[in-house]
């Protein structure tokens, strides 16, 4: 079933969709003995927003974290299948996860600014990687792109811990995009935020789409339907459906998808 959809998607990709920047082929990921995601094959189109939805514990985050090998940091995790970035297996010999993560940035569920100054939060990693341009300019651009510049420009040297939750999360997005990644992985970036901050970040996603490919995990149906171009629906570790967002929400191909997006379970 998933395979048929996969082929449908591949056919469609040749027509209207842009080339996949990320892809998985039969990926299964387990934590010790328990399988988190099972045999997932999908292709993430470039410069689009793809939402990953599904009930709690369905493996959304595990799937998201597989794309920048963040799962490597958990000792018990192992996987089978292939994860491709620009067609290259990211687990092939010689692939350095550190380099991979420079190109595939990530924003987390809980805002996690470093206990450093606001400026340092943005410039820390680029400086470490030997950024050649002006760090100040980079910080201003990044903060402007997340619409935070005006709020913090007078207190760049103050600790980021003093910002509100929504500001902290935008700072974390600025921090990620300052690395000029290709892809931005977002793991429920709004779940710890109030509605106003949430809508600001959603607006931001549209802005960022022109520059980055965005993968966003969300348990908020409205958010998925509002912001994303494509939607992946996972349930109990398996991919139920992957299609254009409009289709998932208006005429899903699977009964389970329909039940979930209508709020009948999950």
């Amino acid at each position: 079933m998933v395979d048929i959809l996969g082929r449908q998607h591949a056919a469609e990709a040749r027509g209207t969709r842009s080339a996949p920047i990320l892809a998985t082929r039969g990926v299964t990921i387990s934590y010790g003995d328990s399988t988190a995601i099972r045999d997932i094959t999908l292709e993430i189109p470039e410069q689009k927003i793809t939402a990953i939805i599904g009930p709690s514990g369905c493996g959304k985050s595990t799937l998201l974290r597989s794309f920048n090998r963040m799962n490597d940091l958990i000792p018990s995790v192992h996987h089978t299948g292939e994860i491709l970035y620009h067609g290259q297996d990211i687990y092939a010999r010689g692939v350095d996860p550190v380099e991979l993560r420079r190109q595939i940035g990530m924003v987390f569920q809980k805002p996690n600014p470093f206990p450093k100054s606001i400026l340092k939060n943005v410039t820390w990693a680029p400086a470490l990687h030997g950024y050649r341009g002006s760090l100040m300019q980079l910080a201003e651009e990044s903060l402007q792109r997340v619409a935070l510049w005006d709020e913090v420009k007078d207190r760049l040297s103050q600790s980021a811990m003093g910002l509100s939750g929504g500001q902290q999360q935008r700072l974390c997005i600025a921090r990620a995009i300052a690395m000029q990644p290709d892809v931005l992985l977002m793991d429920e970036p709004c779940s710890a935020l109030d509605p106003v901050s949430t809508s600001r970040i959603e607006d931001l996603l549209f802005e960022l789409k022109s520059r980055f490919t965005i993968l966003i995990v969300t348990h908020n149906m409205q958010q998925a339907s509002r912001v994303s171009d494509y939607t992946v629906f996972l349930d109990r570790g398996s991919m139920v459906e992957f299609d254009v967002t409009d289709k998932i929400f208006t005429q899903p191909g699977e009964q389970r998808t329909a039940d979930y997006v209508m709020g009948r379970f999950g």
Binding site: N68, M70, L73, P75, V98, E99, L100, R101, R102, Q103, G105, M106, F108, K110, N112, P113, F114, P115, K116, W124, A125, L128, H129, M161, C172, R175, A176, M179
Partner: protein, 306 residues
């Protein structure tokens, strides 16, 4: 179950809960006991030191450079003892602080659970060894090693004592730094890793700075422990109050002096007897200040993530 199963006395009952009050009093007594003993210590120290300072001006005591209270004429300049203590503390710090922090970084950021399960208990054993054993370790193992390298080293020398005191406070530094490092939210590590930084960069540039207050507090506490350390320095460092910074010489620390004089038959009420308390009071003030600093630093640390 009917509503009559549970007795419902009127809410205005005057029954005194005697047992409960008794327990409360008992617990209060426990808490007061430590306050009482601290107060008693301060009073004894204060009283005897006050007598001492009737004979010796405070400035002579604090800034005098000669210390031989039992010779004739006696000299009560405490600086040689402070200097001896400083030599031990500096040496012990040089040994324990970097190794302790390094151990903590390794345990917190690199070691597998299995390695932790081995290293942690070993550190705890190290912390549980009686300090007199460390003294003999210094005399029988460390001193000969130092003498093999620097031939003119005395049998009693500051370096040897400093090294064992360093080993002694190492578990404390490692364990407190480990606590501080483990208290750093995992989200920070993940955030740093997600920016494409190496394990080393994450631990030294993000985790250690985030845990810095806890780390500094552990340093201060360890140093205050080194200042108060007695047995090992009495055995290994000698009993020669000397204003020197050469670690290969025999020196005497404040604590070792107190032991030396307490072991002799110094008559109660004499000035020699009172020097013990004057030096003890100084020691008390120094460690108290250190502990207050550590407490302050730690409090700042907690504020960060609340």
């Amino acid at each position: 179950m009917s509503s009559s199963d549970l007795p419902r006395p009127p809410i205005t009952t005057q029954r005194s809960r005697f047992g409960e009050r008794l327990i409360l009093k008992g617990l209060l007594l426990c808490a007061l006991l430590s306050i009482a003993s601290t107060t008693a210590i301060v009073m004894v120290l204060g009283k005897e030191s006050a007598l001492f300072f009737q004979h010796v001006p405070l400035s002579d005591f604090l800034f005098g450079t000669e210390w031989h209270p039992v010779l004739n004429p006696p000299r009560f300049g405490v600086l040689p003892l402070v200097c001896g203590t400083f030599l031990i503390v500096a040496g012990a710090g040089l040994v324990a602080l970097p190794i302790g922090l390094g151990t903590a970084i390794y345990l917190g950021e690199y070691a597998s659970q299995r390695t932790r399960d081995i290293i942690k208990p070993v550190l705890e054993v190290l912390a549980g060894i009686p300090t007199v054993v460390y003294g003999y370790l210094a005399l029988t193992l460390i001193t000969p090693m130092i003498r093999a390298v620097f031939q003119n080293t005395g049998v009693f020398n500051a370096a040897s004592a400093a090294i064992v005191v360093g080993i002694m406070i190492l578990p404390m530094v490692a364990s407190l730094c480990d606590d501080a490092i483990r208290a750093v939210p995992d989200g920070l590590r993940q955030g740093a890793h997600a920016l494409g930084t190496t394990n080393f960069e994450v631990s030294t540039r993000v985790v250690v700075p985030a845990a810095l207050s806890g780390i500094i507090a552990s340093f201060v506490l360890a140093i205050s422990r080194a200042i108060g350390e007695t047995m090992a320095v009495t055995l290994a460092a000698g009993a020669t109050p000397k204003l020197t910074l050469n670690p290969l010489e025999s020196i005497q620390t404040m604590t070792a002096f107190i032991v030396q004089l307490s072991l002799g038959d110094t008559p109660n009420g004499t000035i020699e007897y009172q020097t013990i308390f004057a030096v003890g009071a100084l020691l008390f003030v120094i460690t108290l200040v250190m502990n207050v600093i550590a407490g302050r630093v730690l409090r700042r640390f907690r504020e960060v993530y609340e």
